[in-house]
Symmetry: C2
Amino acid sequence: MPPTVRSLGLRNTSHVNALQTCVGLSRSVGRATAAARCRVSVPAPAILSAQTKSQGVRVTLDAKAAMVLAPSDQETRMRIGILGTGMVGQTLGTKLASLGHDVVLGSREPDNAKARAWVERTGGTARCGDFAAAASYGDVLFNCTMGTASIEALTRAKAENLVGKVIVDVSNPLDFDNGMPPTLFVSNTDSLAERLQRAFPAARFVKALNTMNANIMVDPMKLANGEHAVFVSANDHDAKEVVRGLLASFGWKHIVDLGDLSTARGTEQLLPLWIRLWGALQTSDFNFAIAR
Amino acid sequence: MPPTVRSLGLRNTSHVNALQTCVGLSRSVGRATAAARCRVSVPAPAILSAQTKSQGVRVTLDAKAAMVLAPSDQETRMRIGILGTGMVGQTLGTKLASLGHDVVLGSREPDNAKARAWVERTGGTARCGDFAAAASYGDVLFNCTMGTASIEALTRAKAENLVGKVIVDVSNPLDFDNGMPPTLFVSNTDSLAERLQRAFPAARFVKALNTMNANIMVDPMKLANGEHAVFVSANDHDAKEVVRGLLASFGWKHIVDLGDLSTARGTEQLLPLWIRLWGALQTSDFNFAIAR
């Protein structure tokens, strides 16, 4: 059943009208690419909170609603910079581009063959460049680099390009130097997310999406009708809200706010169990759910 | 619906007859105390595997069936030693006694008021003593001491009392010395379970039940119709099977075998997330499930 205007909690008439049009057009809720073609002047889900606050409108979004509200025109698009051209960066970039956002995929070298091939696969709707190009372009950045390379990647992205930016830290502090299974190069009394925040204090880091494989990150409905969890940790409330909105637009139904960025110690320390479960289940297509 | 003889896969006539009587008597499957009063000469679920193998009988138990098969007479009872008189030790002891096992609750001092009060609450079906008394009595032991006290408790239990014993390690390496939230005093490249195994190499440690609160340990149906997980890690296959049987008798439907004892690093490192979730959810009545 598509979300109703009532379920969305919209009280602003123009938004309600626009939304009704949008819901009418995209009956196949959950198919984000279809929804992305629905041209409505409604703020992108990720920035709804900030925009509507200034307009005095309270908006509550659930996951299905957020998908219907996928942005499509210049007004509603978000500028996204992805740091890292591996599977995680490419998968997130593809999803964000399919939702109508403007995406720049950043890598160490500006002329990266993998990144160029990815741009071609998006049909030219996205671009690529070096870390600094992606960081300076994006209002929201995703750190999808290897944990061991994250500090260097963000240094190359240049601190001045990170000021005030929301940075979704998807990385994990995995150390493969001593073979398999990997250990963590920071844990217990500190986390990689906190290290990054200390190194770039003017950025607003949000730890999220680091506890499942890339396909599930962008398509939670792939498993158990979406009945499983993604965790968010951040010191900055508004940055966390932006990320919650983006996650909802991916289809996440259970977004668990753990608290400040130090709670990323918990989700980063989930990796050793995740890796052993990968072996025990013989698939990486699983995720943690919270039974209550 | 109570399990049928067919669903249990029993092919030994005397066991089938006994079981039919038992199923008839205890319609309220899941109420272990009722089931425990059902006097049937069927091996205890935890030792079914070993006993029936020698008799040439294949028995497959599910959780409900295991509860119906609660032991009651001298032949079927297991001797259980519990180390630790805190909430975890008491709750596990109560459950095991209610399932018809013979339980000795062990503590540092033989004359422990808390342990004596617990014995009274069990209606005198269980006993208490010092760590050595519990360890020498039990064929299966549960380490329910604080992680910081586990080595000392097992040392007091005496190494000669631990030879060949299955020890379910429920402890966690939580260090509260620097305030809340606690950190882990061993993690990442080692675990408390492995430390205990190295310290007492003749015992057979099985890490289990350390990732949820005590009430859920013994009553998984309390949450989400039992649709959540308990993890087991052990080097010894037979010891793991004994523990799987006991867990099934508690009602666990999803017993996830992670592999050898080093996989306990994963479940012990789950605690930092568990603690933050406790805060975020404002309840400890939750558990992790694996969505697939």
